[in-house]
Symmetry: C4
Subunit: 233 residues, 4 copies
Amino acid sequence: MHELLKKKVLEANLDLVRHNLVLFTWGNASERDPETGHIVIKPSGVPYDEMRADQMVVLDAEGKQIEGDLRPSSDAPTHVVLYRHFKNIGGVVHTHSEWATSWAQAGRNLPAYGTTHADYFYGKIPCTRPLTQEEIEEDYEVATGDVIVATFGNREYESMPGVLVHGHAPFTWGKDGREAVHHAVVIEEVAKMAFRTEVLGNRRSVDQYLLDKHYLRKHGKNACYGQHKPPTL
Amino acid sequence: MHELLKKKVLEANLDLVRHNLVLFTWGNASERDPETGHIVIKPSGVPYDEMRADQMVVLDAEGKQIEGDLRPSSDAPTHVVLYRHFKNIGGVVHTHSEWATSWAQAGRNLPAYGTTHADYFYGKIPCTRPLTQEEIEEDYEVATGDVIVATFGNREYESMPGVLVHGHAPFTWGKDGREAVHHAVVIEEVAKMAFRTEVLGNRRSVDQYLLDKHYLRKHGKNACYGQHKPPTL
Amino acid sequence: MHELLKKKVLEANLDLVRHNLVLFTWGNASERDPETGHIVIKPSGVPYDEMRADQMVVLDAEGKQIEGDLRPSSDAPTHVVLYRHFKNIGGVVHTHSEWATSWAQAGRNLPAYGTTHADYFYGKIPCTRPLTQEEIEEDYEVATGDVIVATFGNREYESMPGVLVHGHAPFTWGKDGREAVHHAVVIEEVAKMAFRTEVLGNRRSVDQYLLDKHYLRKHGKNACYGQHKPPTL
Amino acid sequence: MHELLKKKVLEANLDLVRHNLVLFTWGNASERDPETGHIVIKPSGVPYDEMRADQMVVLDAEGKQIEGDLRPSSDAPTHVVLYRHFKNIGGVVHTHSEWATSWAQAGRNLPAYGTTHADYFYGKIPCTRPLTQEEIEEDYEVATGDVIVATFGNREYESMPGVLVHGHAPFTWGKDGREAVHHAVVIEEVAKMAFRTEVLGNRRSVDQYLLDKHYLRKHGKNACYGQHKPPTL
């Protein structure tokens, strides 16, 4: 089942490689079928250059494996938590991309230092608190999802399609796998430029009105970027 | 109309990709027809690998679209302002190239730390002041052009073919699109080296006489670089 | 003899090039035959693009050359010492990869700043003390092996498959040449991210329980990563 | 004349591109014919992808052009000075490679922080003093050569095959063009690693006995690296 979706999920995973966001098997992309709520995700530990669409694993909305001979990505429970709480998303990506991961390892929110950031992320990209020993030992991957959800609280997740997990790495999301990959590329690029901006002496975020202008130029009902396509997530 | 110019503008845009100056659709190159003053610019949001010459958009000197089915780059009004005020230029480029953008995000002028810089830019590359809330909310892209023009004031723009827009990214120009691209490559390279020069402990620009020697060796009536070609812009 | 092993060792050496870990001939990979204890290593100073399997050099367990027309890598004696003391390893790699070498040149242990590190290295990656003048002048390559062994003392070498040699560069190991190469790739990646983590202001390692969780998720009898493959070294 | 040498010089110039040491036409390699003392160098400002062997320019030992329709590299007079004073060299390379140039722009000697450096450069790589206004205005390219020669004084140039020109960029040399290119690659690599070593907190060079060991392992009458080839310059 979900043959088309499996192909899309395979492509999303391969796009992570094409954008130099993953080394070896360190990354995973998934997508949710809007009708059934099933989640299609890549298998664990299979090299990207051998991966086939029919190896994709299907989970139900609670994360129970309902199709596939292989085990799903070990991060699958985190994806499941994100889909459950962020109702409008259709794709999730996790990488250890080098710049975003460096910020996650530093345990820091990623400030909005410029319009590149503002075009996609409406404010600073949050870094979660560290997990407690109990959370790590009991149900680590679920706790990773929970701490992301707790970090957002009542904050809107659609205008902030990514997060840094403390001491770990980024997760991003979007309306589908392709958009989640897109956001994984952007978070890496703005993490790189923010690093250099700080070394050059600035730690002040852009003004709120510049943030508004750029974010709202590309998103929402008054978007004026591109060819009148419906606004993205 | 302007079929040849459309091909040149397409090539200039693709050169930005070849030089790794753009991610996704984050960049734009335009060129001005010297006879009519018309401006040919790429469409907004079209992926580079699908872009065709016949999709280029033609604007008149006031920025009114006079040909093309697609909407022009959302930065087109900024290009129009630059062409209006910088009479001798024939090409404009905007990118979010990573090193130059990091300086723009830091809100800093880019100092002339060596002869590589001096070969192309006759002094420090200026960073504009931040735009005010009013400027951003009223007519943002035009205001971006205006603040660049204001930054130059009476300063010569031909010997300083680029600028950093505060919190945003670089714009460069030249006698045509190809030269504007060339300057976009150079601003990125010197931004990268200037960053490292500062980390290594130097914040003193080169001496004025070294700047004179290198800039004037390549430009102006006494240029002695290359094969006796007419001096570039 | 060892024709198959020679092919594997050639491939391991070429993988170092494919992963951008070596410039020119600066690197070497070897593998130990489990039955005879013979060591197969690349020849010294032969360009990678001309290297053939039949040029691999065979040494006995004491490092005496027993086959091959060419001289072995000048670092061969270091490999021999590592095989002698680290009984369970089957492959050794040495590179001057740029980020790990920068840490070695700084004479610093490489801290575990995140889960990427914890997935492969169970704690900080040690940097040896500097060699003394006497050690360098008497039997330099053997002394390099000895100082690595001394750095480990009674510490387990299987959960810490790499080291930084002070003022020099990294060595890594694994159950075979392929795994030693894998660890050489990972040490470079975590060295790069740790550098940036520190510049971003953090010098605190991950909590021990997070280290435990990630390392033991991939290694040992309770590993749950991948497709139930036998745990790697 | 010198048809074979012209091919070698073309290849040396193209190798600079292959090793990512040059942008556009920013670099030049030359070689000296040992019998006649003639110098073959690339023409000025010709794009690398169009350059042909028959475009190489021949100069006599005093720098007078004796063959070629095109003008030689504008840096030719610097090459001529180096050949005149450094009797045993056969090749010279100049680039604006990004890391070495950053050190030159910082006006700093490049310290020997590790064995990679010690394998090729016997001590810190010197940075010249800045040129005076008079030197720059009177005969700039010759003065650049003169300040390099003055920096070396009585110091041996064969064990230190490179220099950083203050505020400008590196020059390297060797027994032929190929070796000069090799040293240009190495100076870039060690400049990169030295930068990172300093940021990681170390500014102490390697011990003299480690420098001796590594340099003399590869060079001079007791060299033991590679396949018994005659020691390189």
